[in-house]
């Protein structure tokens, strides 16, 4: 977890990347990976409907960017974003989604069955690699509902609620994990079908410094399928 935070810090302070830049590239990677694993033609719902659940921090921001790109890729995303930081970055991302006719739910579906019926995939953009400590409401209830959903869940960076290094055996079991920048230790406990790497922006010098040993991305793709 500390290494991931250290890399992020270097990207922002030494390389002068803006959060906006990296979040856009991360969100685009997520949408691209989802499109590869769950193409619109694979949906059993009448439209390729996707529920994107966004948390209160940067992982949620990644989710907003992802939702916008999913819309451009031909999906019908719906966002649930209960706790919104009052920062221009997140307000801007929200506006971009709204102006692209992406609906924002007022309430989270109470039953897993409702989610299973309406959506073909759920994107878990609740908590990321900075997550520590207890899960605060409303996310505790949201996670318990998601744990009982049968449609595939794609988690951004870390399955929400998991310890960033040790995982969580009785927690969310997503079908897909999109590791951003590099896989975190928790990824070793990932048991789903699809593990993608995204966030193709780490400079070669940083990769070396932190001995990331990332495999090569194919061509100009922004994602790499690891499993």
């Amino acid at each position: 977890q500390e290494e991931a935070q250290a890399i992020d810090q270097e990207l922002f302070t030494e390389y002068k990347f803006s959060v906006d830049q990296l979040m856009e590239l991360a969100g685009l990677s997520c949408a691209t990976a989802i499109a590869k694993a769950y193409p619109p033609s694979s949906f059993t719902t009448s439209q390729p409907a996707v529920l994107v659940v966004c948390g209160p921090g940067n992982n949620g921001g990644d989710g907003l960017v992802c939702a916008r790109h999913l819309k451009m890729f031909g999906y019908q995303p719906t966002v649930y974003y209960p706790k919104r930081p009052s920062k221009p970055l997140f307000e801007g991302l929200t506006t971009q989604c709204e102006k692209m006719d992406i609906p924002f739910l007022a309430e989270f579906p109470t039953e897993p069955a409702f989610i299973d019926e309406l959506y073909g995939v759920v994107v878990d953009a609740i908590f990321g690699f900075s997550f520590k400590g207890a899960v605060r409401e409303p996310f505790g209830s949201i996670l318990s509902t998601l744990e009982r959903v049968t449609v595939p869940i794609a988690s951004i960076d870390i399955p929400s609620g998991w310890d960033v290094e040790k995982g969580k055996a009785d927690g969310l079991q997503p079908d897909m994990l999109i590791s951003l920048t590099a896989p975190k230790k928790a990824a070793m406990h990932f048991a789903g079908r699809y593990h993608f790497l995204g966030g193709r922006f780490v400079p070669p010098a940083l990769q070396e410094k932190y001995a990331l040993n990332l495999p090569a991305y194919p061509g100009t793709d922004c994602v790499l399928q690891l499993t």
């Binding site: 030494e14 390389y15 803006s18 691209t32 102006k99 006719d101 400079p203 070669p204 010098a205």
Partner: protein, 185 residues
């Protein structure tokens, strides 16, 4: 690519078109090309200064001058990215160093990829004796002068445009394949 190393020269102008060139150079580096940047007149805009830092920290060299001897450019690089002037530029500005850069670029033999508008062309009526790019990447939507483009490939990179903007301006963009962000016209 004809040269042994995948070298590319990215020539960046002083405004937004140049900044886009900086971002392009950074991604080319991530894609394992060996870009070199010529950015003689740097914008004071903090965002664009950060783009410069990102390139420098990624070990992308910045030339201190552009060789006037065209053969040197032809020999060292496989292609040139023209990110000098975009749609915002005014025709006949003739301001240095853009005019000198364009005069050199007119004579190179390796392919030129122009970003949005071939630099030096009038954004609507096109060129009269200006550079002839091999590839044009129209940003958002093709500009009027793109009708005069005679090179090999014309791409449009506008997948980020919201649907209502496309309708409002009657852009009628083509379908983008899969998850690609560019489409060949």
């Amino acid at each position: 690519l004809p040269r042994k190393q995948p070298t590319v020269l990215v020539v960046c102008g002083p405004a937004q078109n140049g900044a886009i060139g900086l971002v392009c150079a950074r991604h080319l580096r991530v894609f394992d090309y060996e870009p070199t940047i010529f950015y003689p007149k740097r914008s004071p805009d903090p965002l664009y200064r950060d783009f410069t830092t990102q390139c420098e920290k990624m070990d992308i060299p910045f030339l201190s001058y552009l060789p006037t001897e065209v053969q040197l450019i032809n020999d060292a690089y496989n292609a040139v990215v023209d990110a000098v002037l975009g749609a915002e530029a005014e025709v006949g500005e003739g301001r240095e160093p853009c005019a000198a850069i364009l005069a050199t670029l007119k004579h190179i033999r390796i392919p030129i990829v122009s970003l949005d508008v071939p630099s030096g062309w009038d954004v609507e009526s096109g060129s009269s004796g200006g550079i002839s790019p091999d590839v044009l990447v129209s940003l958002a939507a093709p500009k009027e002068c793109a009708r005069r483009f005679l090179g090999r490939q014309h791409f449009v990179a506008g997948r980020f445009l919201p649907y209502d903007v496309q309708k409002k301006f009657e852009l009628n963009p083509p379908e983008y394949p899969g998850t690609e962000c560019v489409v060949a016209l």
